[in-house]
Amino acid sequence: MVLIRHMLVTALLLGVFAVLGTGMVALTHHNTEERIEQNERDYLQRTLNTLIPPSEYDNVLYEDTITVESRELLGSKKPVVIYRARKNGKPVAAILTPVAPDGYSGNIKLLVAIRHNGEIMGVRVVSHLETPGLGDGIDIAKSDWIKSFNGHSLDNPDELGWRVEKDGGIFDQFTGATISPRAVVKAVYNSLKYYQQHRDEIFGLPEQPQKEPSHGAA
């Protein structure tokens, strides 16, 4: 009898602590939720704004999105988000979020901003696992290499030019690291191809707001 009582009291105590602990977490979650969401939106907005200057569009970029699927050209079998920038209702540019699946280690997630006429406005690496000091030059925090895409389009240079220099193209590779830049160049080129094939569709589809910003965390 005593033993059972002891067990019950102990179990109850453990339960009380579980409730208290969870309660504390729930309370904090409730109080920080809004701020965290706001942070993520701001962060996304800032990243997107480095690609398309805020003066060039007047819609809410992170809400005007669609998701598309193209494993072949966008590198992911999961749906990929496209942000659409418009001014006075007219399409200005789209930001694709392709994945370069053939990096040196793991996927390289990209943002590729393409002006309505097919010209690249900017490219950024959102997350990657490339070797620090070698392949990580693709990251804007380490080098300006990623800016070398600006102004290029599908036929500028031609198909043979859309490679790293080592493979006969026009884009630099880094000393000791060809694989990472090669993967990025290929992914950017494929994004342009996708854009060319689907441009009207990209701007024509109705808005599909994202529940969570898929490119939030780095």
Binding site: H6, V9, T10, L13, L14, F17, A18, L20, G21, T22, M24, V25, T28, H29, T32, R35, I36, N39, E40, D42, Y43, T131, P132, G133, L134, A217, A218
Partner: protein, 231 residues
């Protein structure tokens, strides 16, 4: 032993029983995060806060928790505290959270926290438990910061890079370029650099300890310094 000798607790936490150098606990975040001073400092502060809060909480509830369930209760307490810290960090230090993100939840698995709860806080009143958490936390954070500094200088030739992520905009100018036009030393940034760096720190501590011991033995006057080969 005086009932609660605070200076002894301090010595234990900072040096004699340092969680990182002597107990060798909590290595996973320690090795993963210490690529810069700021990263080390941030994780160090988060761990320090966790240690203090968990020690105080465990000490407060020590009379109510029966021995059978103490470990699950300690784990619950620690996990709740860490989750709250993680959420707060996500809300107030978002950019830093993006860098340290996955290592904050890992503080839960830092054995030094549950070790302090079990070995000290559950047997002592709140005051000493608080000081113990504080000192152990500072001892741990100090190693994170020193290791971060070593790796940052060697690896990328700077110090205090990204300080603004932790300390606000005014800290943007804190970055010191120690070596101009430094090409970087890859090994220091990669995980092996963390192991080697920590090994060197432990060796250094042992050298200092053994010298001190010798000095005590051979009386104050004569000091034949041992040429101890580090590394």
């Amino acid at each position: 032993m005086a009932q609660h000798d605070y200076s002894e607790i301090t010595r234990q936490g900072l040096w004699k029983n340092n969680p990182a150098l002597v107990q060798i606990l909590g290595l996973c975040p320690l090795l993963a995060v210490t690529s810069t001073v700021v990263n080390g400092l941030a994780l160090g502060l988060a761990t320090l806060l966790t240690l203090i809060l968990s020690n105080v909480t465990v000490s407060l509830i020590r009379h109510y928790v029966s021995p059978e369930i103490r470990i699950p209760v300690f784990v619950l307490v620690i996990a709740s505290i860490v989750t709250v810290i993680e959420l707060a960090m996500h809300a107030y230090f978002h950019e830093l959270y993006l860098i340290l993100g996955i290592f904050i939840p890992l503080i839960v698995t830092n054995c030094s926290i549950i070790a302090r709860a079990e070995a000290y806080a559950s047997k002592n009143p709140v005051g000493p438990a608080f000081v113990d958490g504080l000192m152990m936390g500072i001892g741990f954070a100090a190693v994170l910061i020193v290791l971060g500094g070593m790796r940052e200088v060697l690896g990328q030739g700077t110090l205090f890079a990204n300080a603004h992520l932790l300390l606000g905009e005014m800290a943007r100018g804190f970055e010191v370029i120690v070596i101009e036009d430094y090409r970087g030393f890859l090994l220091a940034i990669l995980p092996p650099g963390a192991f080697i760096g920590l090994g060197l720190l432990i060796a250094l501590k042992n050298v200092i300890d053994s010298r001190q011991e010798k000095r005590l033995q051979t009386a104050p006057a004569v000091s034949t310094e041992a040429t101890a080969g580090t590394a």
